[in-house]
Each structure stands twice: as C-alpha cells, then as structure tokens.
Amino acid sequence: MAELHEMEMRAVYAQTLNELMETNPAVMCLEADLGRASGTVPKVSDAHPDNFVECGVAEANMICVGAGLALEGKIPFCASFSCFASRRVYDQITISVAYANNNVKIVGTAPGITQGPNGGTHMCFQDLAIMRAMPNMHVYSPCDVYELRAMLRQMASSDQPAYMQLVRPKLPKIFDDNATFTPGKAVVLREGSDVTLVSTGFMTKFARDVADELSANGVGVDLLHCPSVKPLDIEALVASAKKTGAVVTVENQNIVGGLGSAVCEALGENYPVPIQRLGINDQFGEVATEGYLFDKHCFGPKHITEACQAILKRKA
C-alpha cells in the first residue's frame, strides 16, 4: 500500500471516511454528482453503500438532507466544489446547519485557483470569507494528507458544524503520522525573528519553501500555518508579531475577508504591526495554470519572498 503522502488528498479523504465508518456507523458521505471528483465514488460508495447518499445535482437539497440526518444523530460530510458547497448554498448552511446547530460537515473541494481548468465560473475565492462570517461555523483548510486525516478524525468526533477546504491532487508532505488537529490552534512550522509569514491550506507548501529559502539567506521567518481559519489562533499570532514586528499573509483566496483579513482584525485589535496580505486582489478567476495565476495576482513563491523582504523596511 502506498504511503499516505504518495496519495492524492481526495484519496485520503475517501480512505479516512471509510476508516471512520468502520468504527462509527453514524458517519455519512453525501455527494451532489461530484463524488468522482471528491474521490468518494466508487471508493466510499462501494465500501459503505449504506453510509453513502448520492443526491444528484442538487446541492441545496444535499445540505438540508444532511441537516435532517444530523438531527437523527448521523454525522454527514457533504462535499461539492467549493463554489457550490459554500456560496451556492449559503442560506441553507446558515439556517439549516449553523443557526439550527445541526452537526453537518461541509467539504468544499478544489478551492481557489486549484479549480484551474474549470475557470472563472467555478473558481471560488470567497469561501473562507463567507463561511467565516457565519456564527456557529468553524472554517478549516488542511495543508497535507496527514493533517487532512487528523482533521477529519477530529471533525467526526465533534458535534461542531464545520466547513473544510479540500484540495484534490497530491500535496507535498509537511506532517507525518503524528499529525494532530485542534480547532483554534495554529502550527509553527519554522521559527524566526525577522518576519511572520501566515498561511493556510494549499499555500502552506509554498510558504514553507519560501521560509526555508529566506532563512538560508539570513532572513528569519516565523512560519505560522493556520489550519483553523476560524477560530483563529490569536494567541499564537500575537506572540509571533511581538517577536518579529511584521506580518505577511498568503492565501488561495480573495484578500477581502479571508485569512489575511482575519489576521488584520486580530492584530489590529491586539498588537498592531505592519501587515501585507497576498492572495487574489478582489478579482474573479479565469481558465489558467497555477503559474499564470500566481503571476497575475502576485501571490506565488516569488511574490511571497519579495513581500517578506519588503516588509522588513516598514518595521518600526
């Protein structure tokens, strides 16, 4: 059997759901005709047909069927492309999940630019922002398969409504079998005293590479990975900002309302320092490759490096 980090993220999503279903039959997998994209068809649908609910292209119904299942003690994981799993069904999630306090887990796949070939109609840059603005909703974004598995295990053991981004392809290994996930806790991936770099999900692998390179060149980077965008680890952010005095954020999202905004809110109220947000600068997406979009929107590795160097000059 392949090592976990040799697997696609979606394959680990399906495998972990199957493992959870073995020990807890209440865990359910719901899809809206994108199960093959999420990796659960046929992996979960064949292995646990009674725990798998195909809803067809009807995301609103899927979310509320999930709410009904949760009212009866089930633990439904409802997946679709992040554009359909968040903005398309925002009212269903708001009322039937968060307001009603029903234990539904929502999985938004192919977030941000990872939707590449499907283009602008399918690229969702605002799911972190809009899901974060919803009371009683947690918002997560794992950076590798080990963290994804730990996150899914934690979600299945909790009665907290939550939204999780899921990048579908392989991602480089960052953690190992000992990975843990705690809502509201950030992970310090590298320590440094010159600049704080904050990332989540898909962007953490790039942030790590940049932090390694900068550190080798004499710029100490404190790298804070935030798998839990909400609740945010304000304590860790403030501690790092006190140490470095400057913060760069990077996310695979619109900088309006997402991780960068959350960091600005937290530090603005608790420990103001110069901050530079990187991500999509309030624009729609388009059919394009990762490199093209990084360059166009200035949030690839090169831009992260430059932002970290530039912000040093803004320090008090």
């Binding site: 067809g56 009807a58 509320c64 009904g68 009866e72 003690g73």
Partner: protein, 283 residues
C-alpha cells in the same frame, strides 16, 4: 381527548379554543403570522391527537413520529398544539416573540420541546424531513416523518429537488402536507406564481397524492391515515384550506399573512371576529 377515544364534539371545541388562543398570542406579540397558522388548526389537532405516535413527557423519544413544518412562520399553531398536549406550560404561549422568549416567530427546535426541526427560510424543510426519513430507513425504525409545506413556499425550487430525492429513495415513511390556502404574501397563488396542476405535479414526481378538506376532521383523519400507510413511495396530501380560517376579519384576505396589532382596539377587533369568541384563555 386522546388517540384511543376520539370525541368529535371535543375536537370541535378544541379547534375553536386553539384558534382563539393563537389569535390572542399574536395579539400579545403585537404582530404575527396569523393567517397561515389558522389554516392549519384542524391539521395539527388531528396529527397530535389522532395520528402521530408521540410522548409529550419525552419529546425526543426515539420511536416517535416526527414533524417538520417547513413553513416555519406558522409556528403559533404548533406552539399552541404542543402546549395543549403538555409539552410545556400554556403560560409560555403569550410570550410569543417577546424579548428573551422560548417561542420565536419561526419554529425552533433549540428552544421548544416537541419541535423536531428549526425552520424559517422557505424551501428547506422538506429536504430536512427527507434526511430524517432516510435516517429512519437506515436505522430500521418504523416511525413516520410528517412535513408541512406552504403553497407559496412551493415556489422555491428546492422543494422539487427534495421531491425527486424522496421518490428516488422510496421514502414511504415520509408524509408531506401542502397547506393550500391559495394565498401568499403578495396575493393569490394563482396570480403570483401559479401552482396548478399541483396534484399532477407531485404525481409526476413519483409521489402518491391525496387531496383533502383541511378543515374537515373526518377527511383529515382518513387521508392522514391513508398517507401514513402508503408503501413504496412518499405521500403528499394537498390540503385545501382557508387562510385566516375562523377569524372573519382576515379570512381569505391578502393581508392575513402577517397582521399588526398596535393597540387594544386592534386586539378587540381580531378577537371579537373569532368564530367562537367566548373562550377563557388558559394563561
């Protein structure tokens, strides 16, 4: 009155008393969704006193029949029925919509014993009921999930997603009721967004469909019982009702959806317009 010993005279008296109490609750609140609550009085009494298998002393009893009212704004009739069944004290009823109340304008599972699902945003409840019915199937439980939707609410496309889902999954433990009072906020349903042919629509989606007079106790009992016994597919009962039924001031009028009761004169106007205004309030 209980499931075993049905008494038509008591049923009719209870109908009049609940209508009066519901209207008083809305008057106490100063405004509220009266019309769509009054159209469902006989339905709720029939469900809770003759059809549904429930235990008011144990609202979350696992084997109970469930009820989802997707038209959550009809909550006053549900709250009144639950209080009369003993789920909570009747003196909660005049606190409808008051600051800090347990009885908000739209049906709330979090604060009200006996409410099985929180609703309020139209179009979502039938899907929630589908999830509950599916869970019962998976867990090999024999209870029925009832779901009341509004006629205006039927404009919402999500109902038709749920309609396909329930039929596809053979949810014969699901009984839906359309409160077809022919009125929605902006006017008559025929003028706003016509639903007809409504029976054929649900039939074509694979449901067993009944029609009933939603104010006739014998028809209600017969159709609800028959719908509960349908096998192999979900059941829909189109309940022909009158919005604001029993309050002559608003009966079958466009303004009946949400009434304003700014002062004592308005309160007197609505309460004196009840079909039986000689009711002693229980709180």
């Amino acid at each position: 009155m209980n499931n075993e010993a049905f008494d038509a005279k008591k049923f009719d008296l209870l109908t009049e008393e609940l209508r009066y109490v519901i209207t008083d609750m809305v008057c106490c609140a100063g405004s509220g969704h009266l019309g769509g609550a009054l159209s469902l009085v006989e339905t709720f009494i029939t469900l809770y006193y003759r059809v549904m298998n429930v235990d008011p002393s144990n609202p979350k009893w696992a084997n109970r029949d469930r009820l989802v009212m997707s038209k959550g704004h009809g909550a006053p009739v549900w709250y009144a029925a639950l209080a009369y069944k003993g789920y909570f004290p009747k003196d909660w009823l005049p606190t409808l919509n008051a600051d800090g109340t347990k009885l908000p304008s739209h049906a709330d599972e979090r604060t009200v014993p006996g409410i099985d699902a929180t609703t309020g945003s139209l179009g979502q409840g039938l899907s929630v009921a589908c999830g509950m019915a599916l869970a019962a199937k998976l867990d090999k439980q024999n209870h029925t999930v009832f779901c009341i939707i509004g006629d205006g609410e039927t404009n919402e496309g999500q109902n038709w997603e749920a309609a396909m889902f329930a039929a596809h999954k053979n949810l014969d433990n699901l009984v839906a009721i359309t409160d077809y009072n022919k009125l929605q906020i902006d006017g008559f349903t025929d003028d706003i967004l016509g639903l007809e042919p409504l029976v054929e629509k649900w039939q074509s989606f694979g449901w067993e469909v009944f029609e009933m007079d939603g104010h006739n106790r014998d028809d209600l009992y017969e159709k609800l019982t028959a719908a509960k016994n349908v096998t192999g597919k979900p059941a829909m009962i189109i309940a022909h009702t009158i919005k604001g039924k029993g309050c002559s001031e608003i009966e079958n009028t466009i303004g009946s959806h949400n009434i304003k009761v700014p002062d004592e004169a308005a309160r007197e106007k609505y309460l004196s317009a009840m079909s039986n205004a000689d009711i002693e309030l229980p709180y």
